[in-house]
Amino acid sequence: MALLELRNLSVTFDTASGPFKAVDGVDISVDTGEILAIVGESGSGKSVAMLALMGLLPNTATVTADVLTFEGKDMLKMPRRDQRKIIGKEIAMIFQEPIASLNPCFTVGFQITEVLRQHMGMDRGKAKTRAVDLLKTVGIPEPERRMSAFPHQLSGGMSQRVMIAMATACQPKLLIADEPTTALDVTIQAQILDLLRDLQRDHGMGLILITHDMGVVAETAERVVVQYAGQQVERQHVKGLFRTPHHPYTSALLDALPDRATGDRLPSIPGVVPGQGDRPEGCLFNPRCAFADDTCRKVVPPHQSDELGQALCHYPLNRKGAAA
């Protein structure tokens, strides 16, 4: 049994100009101790799917799924009260903007001990000792002194470390990291990724890494899901994905990596992810796809076989590579 099992998850937002499907039939499964990366441009709905799992979407969102289980427990049917016993304890999440994600009115110590007291039933003193330990673990110097610091006194990297300490406080089984390094300096990015990987290994957590950075994926993940306009267009093992991408979108994303560029210009994918008003017919990627033909413009593509990375495409690339 997988730790987290999501099947056919869809999220629809009620907007002033009608319903908008931000996530469309997404399947995800993560095992204990596994690192899964979800990759896609901004607007591809990769965060929304995870926020739906955490129950963090606004009331305007409708979440439907055939299966949405954590350790076999149905999270959708569970009462909110029971859900909150899992959220923050068994499943934790860190976010893109670490500085904005910490409450400016409370000290770092308060914000960490709050989780411990909520979920572990610790008293003030115990929680404090544990929080200092946690700060030490995530590599914050002078953890005792930092306990009484306010978020605005910390740098972005420090804030993200605090967020990680907070998220791992209750030794969660699954950690969701939503673009954890995007807002940070490049040098700090690597440190944070290392920290996440170390923690993941030490605790045997499942880790879902949401990112748009293929470089991060290559360094960290084991399996990769590529998402486009709310749909999963390809699912593969990380090695296979980099060697033989099957969906034209994956291929284009990889081509856009600087160290893969062949010419003197960095190739980019023309256009943007379709929004609410401009969803094309047929394959959602067809207006930006170099290989699109009339079929792509009219017929919704099927998911291909596992060998072809379950690519959501009429004409998956590298058929031979997969066969070989």
Partner: protein, 335 residues
């Protein structure tokens, strides 16, 4: 923290000097001679006039007169009332508790209703509750409170006969003013029914004076709350698995209160202006009515002293709010 306090204190000094200049200049620009004004209708002979001029220092250059005036202020000499011949500061201190009591009740009334109303309107954004509350808030904000007071008197005192029309307490009760707060003094007196009488006299003036602050606070709380609820740290709080009550009531509210506190501070000036009207309508013996009466009686020393005292008071409250603001907002405290 102390440095923060003193830097704020330092900033208001020039403003306070300006206030004394305005109050000093006010009597000088009045049409008519201040000494003849003192004499009233009877007029006076030239010798007496000269003597008085010397006594009040009006024969000296203007800046020396101003200097003496400020020197007097610093020693607590705010002038003497023409009509009662009493010391202005003394009168102010006697009447001030009445205004303070009313203002405290009004602001409590505004906070107790306004903040929860604002919070729920924000949580139920776009709902019927939100629309009705915000409609009511804008109506309250647009209210001519002198008329609102009269309406309430018509309804509650005239038609229903529930509340008294004017004053602070029924004439049946008499007891020493220990604190100047009628609600506390009536309790201390131990007289039966005195406390109830004091409270029933307070109800309508409290509502009238509290209406505009209530509207402003409800609107401000709602918009601050809406903004805060969209912040990342609120999402973090929810991702911790905290109960909605804790997320809203602690994590969101603490941040939303920062602008609301500023607003409450700004309401002090509004309350003083409102007190002028409210006290006039309900014959409430406070400093608002005192100022209005003095203006219409042309009791200029009182007006002059009252201006300085009231403006100084408003500034002092604003200073307190600034300091409070620093206490609740760590971003300002630690710099």
């Amino acid at each position: 923290m102390l440095r923060f306090f003193f830097s704020k204190l330092f900033l208001i000094v020039p403003t306070f000097i300006g206030i004394t200049v305005v109050a000093f200049g006010f009597v000088r620009v009045l049409p008519g001679d201040p000494i003849l004004l003192l004499a009233g209708e009877r007029g006076m002979d030239p010798d007496r006039y000269a003597a008085l001029q010397q006594q009040f220092g009006y024969d000296q250059p203007m800046f020396i007169q101003y200097f003496n005036y400020v020197l007097g202020l610093l020693q607590g000499d705010f002038g003497t009332s023409i009509s009662t011949k009493r010391d202005v500061l003394g009168e102010f201190l006697t009447l001030f508790p009445a205004t303070l009591e009313l203002a405290i009740f009004a602001i409590i009334f505004a906070l107790v209703i306004g903040i929860p109303a604002g919070i729920f309107a924000a949580l139920k954004r776009g709902s019927v509750f939100d629309q009705v509350t915000m409609g009511a808030a804008l109506t309250g904000y647009s209210m001519p409170i002198f008329w609102w007071g009269l309406l309430l008197i018509i309804l509650f005192s005239g038609v229903l006969g529930w509340t008294p029309v004017s004053g602070r307490i029924s004439l049946l009760y008499f007891f020493p003013q220990v604190t100047g707060f009628m609600t506390i003094d009536s309790l201390l007196s131990g007289q039966k029914g005195a406390f109830q009488s004091a409270v029933s006299h307070l109800i309508l003036p409290t509502i009238v004076l509290g209406t505009i602050p209530l509207a402003v606070i409800a609107r401000q709380t709602r918009s601050a709350m809406l903004e805060v609820l969209g912040e990342d740290y609120v999402r973090t709080a929810r991702a911790k698995g905290l109960a909605p009550r804790r997320v809203v009531g602690l994590h969101a509210l603490r941040n939303a209160m920062i602008p609301v506190i500023t607003t409450i501070g700004l309401q002090v000036g509004v309350l003083m202006a409102g007190a002028i009207l409210t006290e006039t309508i309900f014959s409430w013996p406070g400093i608002g009515k005192w100022m209005v009466d003095s203006i219409s009686r042309r009791d200029y020393p009182v007006v002059q002293g009252g201006l300085v005292l009231i403006a100084g008071l408003v500034m002092l409250v604003n200073l307190t709010v600034d300091v409070l603001y620093g206490l609740i907002n760590p971003r300002i405290r630690h710099r």
